[in-house]
Amino acid sequence: MEQAESGTVLSQPEEKAGKARISSRLQILLGRILTGIVIFGLWQGLSGPVFKSTWVSRPSLIYTRLAKMTMDGSLWFHLSITLQEMLIGLVIGMIVGTVLGILMATSGKVQHYFSPYIMALSSLPRAALAPLFVVWFGIGLNSKISVVVMMVVFLAYYNAYEGIRNLDSDLTQMMNSFKATRLQKLRWHTLPSIAPWMMNSIRLGIGTSTIGAVIAEMVGANRGIGYYISYSSALIDTTGVFAGLVVIMIVAVFLDQVIVFSEKQIFKYRSVNG
């Protein structure tokens, strides 16, 4: 026991490889910027001479609109409410779905009683429920949050369920052999095991909750980006519609990046050398 076996701890990545990676990342970044310039350039240049600019608007018009909305506070007025609906709905949907998934996956036979109905519910086009929710919960925040929850909850449910089904049975037996309590099993084994699955739900859930919130707002609301989009389209204000879409896009990309970053922090054990 005096010495550990040789060649055990893997060496740090070499400096050279690090440099090569930086230069290739730089190249990708430049390529991306260039692609963006080409796409927006074409849009700007062709809108007017080729397409009617009332149909597709123009990047410069959208930019001006967004700048104006930022200045007069209407952007934040709409965006803040949409963000609230998304995030509250996402959190509730994640918690409810994950808890249900864990309970179902560990419920033995009971899961078979419920599974066809859950399947049927999840295959429902849930956006179609939005008008119903407005009737039930009014045109305020609650109906929008309900739509988002309905859209996120199944994602969370199925991911948690699959996560539990894929638990490493050796680890389960190990925890059992040490006589761990239910809470200890949950904290040491189950939750860390399904964490990557939950992260996957959250990531997909960002897109889904955006769709849910915007659709619900289009059905009936007096605030929010979805409301702004449907209001603009009623006035045939294409620039307004695109401005709303751009805001939604930026929010989704930003939140996705937040998730990617936190994934790296949370799952450090997976990326350690080796």
Partner: protein
């Protein structure tokens, strides 16, 4: 002292699996005792139900027939004083080495401070001082095995159930780890039921070697190992008594294949 109650008694144990309406008998009519402080190995062809036997003892599997007693008391549910060492270590990949070793101590209800101190001490005894903040996947197979052993020693059971623990290791590491384990075991002197397919390993570690037949697994023969302790792990195999025993055990196993 009176009649000694064995640490472990297995009486007429039968375990069968039912899968897709087909019943497979894994082990049948097994009778075995392990005395307090005794090291017993089970060898046999692969698929003879050696692992099934261990899992039945630790109540991870339900026997179809027979009785398992610990200290003369019938086992119901996962027993307190039994530690299982798994073939693939079963380390938690998201926990650091020290946290992995800390797990059974946490379950036993020690304070956080006691857990840390004891885990670090255990890691030092298996030669892993300085590696406490690494994750399992950063270590070699041999080092991961040491972590698993440290964790089991921390649980401090009265009976160790070991399921081919050194199976996945390469030949050299097997000897180093086996040697280290033998020395640690000689200090604690607790009972061990050890499953392996390696006859040399079985002889060198054990007081008795049990040979099982192929499926359905039955006990075919039991051999006493009369080598004195402490034994040199590697050099024991050059002893003539060792060689004779090895030859005899092999003849029983070869008969099965």
């Amino acid at each position: 002292m009176g009649a000694m109650i064995p640490k472990l008694t297995i009486e007429d144990l039968t375990v069968q699996y039912v899968a897709k309406e087909q019943t497979t008998v894994a082990v049948e009519h097994v009778n075995l005792t392990v005395a307090d402080g005794e090291f017993v190995s089970i060898v046999g062809p692969s698929g003879c139900g050696k692992s099934t036997l261990l899992k039945a003892v630790s109540a991870l599997l339900k026997p179809s027939n027979g009785v398992i007693k610990l200290d003369g008391k019938r086992v119901q549910g996962v027993p307190d004083s039994v530690g299982f060492v798994f073939q693939n270590d079963a380390l938690l990949p998201w926990k650091t080495i020290v946290d992995n070793v800390r797990l059974p101590l946490e379950i036993r209800g020690y304070s956080r401070k006691e857990q840390e101190t004891e885990a670090l001490r255990l890691l030092e005894t298996v030669g892993l001082k300085g590696f406490e903040n690494y994750y399992p996947q950063q270590l070699s197979g041999g080092m991961q095995k040491r972590v698993a052993l440290a964790r089991s020693f921390g649980y401090d059971p009265d009976l160790y159930l070991m399921d081919e623990p050194f199976g996945p290791l390469d030949a050299q590491t097997r000897v180093t780890i086996g040697d280290a384990f033998l020395k640690m075991w000689e200090k604690v002197g607790k009972s061990v039921l050890f499953v392996t397919h390696d006859i040399e390993e079985a002889i060198v570690l054990s007081d008795r070697v049990v040979v099982m037949s192929k499926r359905p697994g039955r006990i075919k023969a039991v051999f006493e190992v009369n080598l004195e302790r402490p034994r040199p792990y590697y050099d024991s195999r050059f002893d003539t008594r060792f060689k004779d025993l090895q030859k005899e055990i092999w003849s029983y196993i070869a008969d099965e294949e």
